[in-house]
């Protein structure tokens, strides 16, 4: 059931992606995306130094020096290229990744993301999360609507440490798609049969229904 919700999110995000785009997929739900692309051809970037990441190899063809950012064995697509970590983050930070799809612990009503640390807990890992938030051209957050403790992940104000001042463009949960513009949050699509009032109840931040201006929606959908 949880897996179905995650797949709903992955499938909906695929609709936001276009063939030929360079995409960096974070850990968690984003890693499901390659399985639901149909005939869309993405160029996947892996922060440890690869453009053109392919699927998991068959067991006999694993090379532990060809791995993803999650440290799992991968393959290369035709036309792939390899480079060092400084070149990889130059690509990320320099605005050369079209879309980063990230998981999140929280997103606030302005689109600010918390996805690397839990308050009060040991903070010993950040990886490339902040570089991606700072550098990707478009940021899509893929997250379940509520935490496993039933707390809303979309919140009025972050209580978890922020990943950066750069805002998400879009959040996709199993229930809805939210867009962020100029500090406000807009519900642009419902993905489950949850009534609107119940959706509002389980969402920790106030949102408006529909986009601020119809023009904006078209522009964003281009």
């Amino acid at each position: 059931m949880n897996e179905n919700r995650r797949i709903t999110i992955a499938k909906r995000i695929v609709q936001e992606l276009e063939s030929g785009q360079t995409v960096n997929l974070g850990v968690g739900i984003p890693t499901l995306i390659p399985d639901y692309l149909d005939d869309k051809q993405l160029v996947l970037q892996s922060e440890n130094g690869l453009l053109g990441m392919g699927p998991t190899p068959p067991p006999g063809q694993v090379n532990m020096d060809l791995i993803s950012a999650s440290k799992d064995p991968i393959t290369m697509e035709t036309g792939a290229s390899l480079f060092d970590s400084s070149a990889s983050f130059a690509m990320i930070r320099g605005g050369h990744i079209d879309v980063a799809v990230l998981g999140a612990l929280q997103v606030d009503r302005t689109g600010e993301i918390a996805n690397w640390a839990v308050p009060g807990a040991t903070i010993l890992g950040v990886g490339g999360a902040m570089d991606l938030v700072a550098g990707a051209n478009k940021i899509i957050v893929a997250t379940l609507h509520s935490s496993k403790h039933g707390e809303p992940k979309l919140v009025e104000e972050l209580t978890y440490p922020t990943s950066g001042i750069r805002k998400a463009d879009l959040v996709v949960t199993e229930h809805a798609v939210f867009r962020f513009e100029e500090g406000s949050m807009y519900l642009v699509e419902q993905l489950s049969d949850l009534p609107l009032d119940e959706l509002q109840e389980i969402t920790g931040a106030p949102f408006q229904v529909g986009l601020r201006e119809p023009d904006k929606q078209e522009e964003a959908a281009e």
Partner: protein, 228 residues
């Protein structure tokens, strides 16, 4: 080959308390033989700059077990629960740096750049105590270059001059770390004749490499095992 050292001979170039750059991302492109050498040495109080600290008992994890480390600088330590525990017990200092900032700071260290401004981490906890500057209307953080006493890196092949090429994503931090240590030791899977690596394909020119060590490990079914 003038630069070739026996497996653990390189340890003589390192002193207690030194800062050591160690290449690798997870267990890929990690200089396992050189780490073994550090573990077998009497060195202590080292500061290691590396993306991770390996896994418990693996890679740089064995230095933690051997109490060789005073401090670790890197981007992701949570994959090694021993590191988390050592930190919680006050036995290990940790400096957390975003991965791209780490790579760039090391590159700058090797390139004669004193420091740089990045947008990454501006406005976050990792910006605490760091200078902020607005450039063209955007917020940037000042980050100082990182240099070290010694660099321990892993490459795939070296020629007899010390030119290096890497194995797929085993490249990762190794080429930048090759530039930023006062003494640079490269562990390699294979040594080939000078001229066998094409000039346009060499990733690390030999000027960066002081010594070469043949790896004690070989890849079998894609995973490193001890050489027989």
């Amino acid at each position: 080959m003038q630069k070739l050292l026996d497996a653990y001979e390189f340890v003589k170039f390192i002193k207690n308390g030194d800062t050591v750059l160690v290449g690798g991302f997870g267990m890929s492109g990690t200089p396992l033989t050189l780490i073994d050498g550090l573990a077998a040495s009497s060195l202590t109080g080292l500061t290691v700059v590396s993306n991770n600290l390996g896994e418990p008992g693996k890679g740089l994890g064995i230095l933690l077990e051997g109490k060789k480390l005073k401090k670790a600088v890197g981007s992701y330590f949570t994959t090694n629960r021993d590191a988390v525990k050592a930190w919680a017990d006050g036995e290990l200092e940790i400096e957390l740096v975003p991965q791209g900032t780490l790579a760039e700071a090391v590159r700058c260290g090797g390139a004669g750049i004193g420091g740089f401004y990045t947008k990454t981490a501006a406005g976050t906890k990792l910006a605490d105590g760091k200078e902020e500057r607005e450039i063209d209307g955007e917020r940037y953080l000042f980050e100082k270059a990182i240099k070290a006493d010694v660099s321990l890196i892993k490459a795939h092949k070296a020629d007899r001059l010390g030119n290096l090429v890497y194995d797929h994503t085993g490249r990762n931090f190794n080429p930048v770390m090759a530039t930023a240590g006062k003494v640079v030791i490269a562990e390699v899977d294979e040594i080939v004749g000078t001229g066998e690596l094409a000039p346009a394909h060499i990733v690390t020119p030999h000027v960066y490499v002081d010594y070469v060590v043949l790896s004690r490990y070989v890849k079998k079914a894609g995973v490193f095992v001890e050489r027989e």
